[in-house]
């Protein structure tokens, strides 16, 4: 079973071997409201932990999605570009943003478990 970790910027990463699948949390989607646009990185793009990786837009505003791990993009999710509502419907499943080949696996230790993330959200209501 793959391990899922969470960042303080409300991304999740599900790790399978050396490939991580990254998306935004259900909490993040609830804060954003109806998502009407998504932009994902192309395969081959190098990303650095904490850097801008993708874009998500609601009716109200555009927001950056950051990568919680350093690595090289393997695939961007074309499905959410074609149908951004997928992100609202299934944020931690079909609504994933990109797959990334993780080059610094040590970074994962700094991310939160599901229980810790839930506690973080509770303590930091926006």
């Amino acid at each position: 079973m793959s391990e899922v970790k969470y960042s303080k910027k409300h991304e999740w990463v599900s790790v399978d071997g050396d490939v991580g699948t990254v998306g935004i949390t259900k909490h993040a989607t609830e804060q954003l409201g109806d998502i009407v646009f998504a932009e994902v990185p192309d395969a081959g793009k190098a990303l650095t932990n904490g850097g801008e990786a993708a874009v998500v837009e609601s009716v109200k505003a555009a927001s950056d999605v950051y990568t919680p791990v350093t690595g090289e993009v393997v695939e961007g999710n074309a499905a959410i570009v074609a149908e951004p509502a997928l992100i609202n419907q299934d944020p931690e499943g079909k609504g994933w943003f990109f797959k990334i080949k993780i080059t610094s696996p040590d970074e994962l230790a700094a991310l939160m478990s599901k229980a810790d993330y839930d506690k973080f959200v509770e303590e930091n209501p926006s």
Binding site: G33, D34, V36, F37, E39, S58, V59
Partner: protein, 364 residues
Amino acid sequence: MSHLKTALFDFHKASGAKLVPFAGYEMPVQYPLGIAGEHTHVRTKAGIFDVSHMGQFSIIGDETVCKQLEQIVPIDLSLLKLNQSKYSYLMNDKGGIDDDLIVTKLEDRISIVLNAGCKHNDIKQIKTVFKQPAEFVLHDELSLIALQGPKAVSILESFIPGVSNLKFMNGGSFSFKDKSVYVTRSGYTGEDGFEVSIANELAQTFCETLLTNTDVAMIGLGARDSLRLEAGLCLYGHDLNPEISPIEADLVFGITKHRRETCDFIGGSVVKDHLTNGIKKKRVGIQPEGTIIARENAKVFKDDKEIGLVTSGGYGPSVSAAVAMGYVDFNCSEVGTSVELEVRGKKYPAKVCLLPFYKKSYAK
């Protein structure tokens, strides 16, 4: 700095609104329904907007009030019929627009609805043109509540009998819970609807009464913005400012026809010049060709030359597409002109288009 609150502040909070600072007030940007849901609700049913932050201003006096006000508001107020409303603006001496407004003629007064962020300066500017005595009242004791949407007429009629007889941009005095309210058939959403001027202490009861009809929902500023943008309507401070003339803003209908000849108002020489010799830039609709959303301050290009700026842009839930408006060089303002929009450093194709993006017919 603490923000002002409308009479409905506690009611908004209790209704689950997310409150944000807006024009000095703490206002609901959205309710649990969410911006897209609220937007669609107004287009299909009816929604309540608290617009009490806007200035409800009266100038009370004799027949000289109209003539004096006409120095700064370029419509012919004497042509207004009793209870008729008109869209116009407050001019400055550079020919720019200091605020856009709705004026209504009542028996003993001219009533004006001003934008929240401009109202105090507006009143100062209006007073400067008055040489004969008049009484100026900013009605802080009144709330302004809009009910907008295709079902607004039948719903409001059920609680305030008679309002369905009002024609668009006309108003009248009615009664709600035995208290007098002034209702105009108007709004800023591109839908049929009403704006109800009502005593602060009755505002919450009025909303609660409307909400007993399950087709009614509370709507925040977020959906107000997407609704007015789809309807091609300007937002002051974004699409309009003191440096932009009514001609550049493509709002010439706010100047009465014969006054476009005389231009006998503050800033009239600039307007006359713009009407006679043309303008350098013009407000237009801009339709992105793909799904890219260009928001306020996105640059507009034509053949790699910067030719303008988006002043309002976003996603239009009722047209299921990105929509924008902005100012472009006049020679690029023709409908159909291909342009490019710069978003996050990349350029995307778009076309100059007709406004509005969304059109509905009003009750004439």
